[in-house]
Symmetry: C2
Subunit: 175 residues, 2 copies
């Protein structure tokens, strides 16, 4: 599976169940949400803007997409967990299964971020993103065309301590 | 990482947070437990018995171990989730990163089972076990020497439907 196939397989509407483990306290948090992943054209203004801000040529990118989410946590039901971001893969010309992932808003901090991804031989997408004070590690893989799993870890910037580990099971919605 | 190193890294006492996603209903279940993983000698009677029941020569096995668990679910706090099983890796002589895993009691059904494992190039242990009416797929990997993640899927025997997806974060306890 290459990054084009991975993005293509991910397009659509998904119902997500996410469990967050706050490791230091042994706490569980449950989040229910809807995800939508939509392909963007290479000449979409949002794609051109994000490429420009990282000084990346749009021709060096593949399969840009927008991900939107809308969810609710059992920790604070009044809090709205909704947002969207633009993501743009930039494959490494020498190693087609590796590359950078530009995005206009990260998960762990609300600022733009560049992650580094690779695809393993068994089709797992692995993304590592370094922030100022934290690092995020994410693995996403398909169980079948309609079920995705995602494991996300947030580590302190020192890099050894895992602060939260979360797991999402994502089921494609009938369209 | 080979199977010997994987078992060696897993020995000890672990505190586990496990979230079970019952996919059809969108339900979350939270389980807190303690795990203990102890190496067994190749001439331990439990190892010899289990080898005999599968007609496997003990010399063909490596790193047998016993796993014990004791936990509590938020679904039924009176239910005792405790037990232990003996597990014996039998590496494939031709493919050292693959093999069978014998065990005297499975997860999905309370009967003996043989699983098939492999280790990926990035150190993930993958185990697939077929039961009469279900199949279990498990991935385990280390974040650092003191944190393990485990994703388990239970599928119907037809093999396409995922019934439950669960995620455990396991933290080594100070001894």
């Amino acid at each position: 599976m290459d990054i084009r196939e991975f993005v293509q397989s991910s397009l659509g509407r998904w119902r997500s169940q996410r469990s967050v483990h706050h490791l230091a306290f042994g706490h569980f948090e449950a989040v229910q949400s809807e995800l939508e992943i939509v392909a963007l054209a290479l000449d979409d203004p949002a794609v051109i803007d994000l490429c420009k801000s990282y000084d990346v040529a749009p021709q060096a990118t593949v399969s840009p997409f927008r991900m939107s989410w809308d969810g609710q946590s059992d920790w604070d039901e009044s809090e709205v967990l909704a947002g969207s971001c633009v993501l743009i893969p930039v494959p490494d010309p020498d190693q087609p299964n590796r590359g950078k992932l530009l995005r206009d808003q990260g998960y762990a901090e609300t600022m733009p971020a560049v992650g580094h991804y690779y695809l393993t031989e068994d089709g797992t997408f692995v993304l590592v993103t370094e922030y100022d004070r934290a690092a995020a590690e994410e693995k996403i893989w398909f169980i079948n065309p309609n079920v995705r799993c995602r494991v996300s870890l947030i580590k302190t910037s020192a890099g050894t301590g895992v602060v939260t580990a979360s797991f999402s099971s994502e089921i494609r919605q009938k369209n």
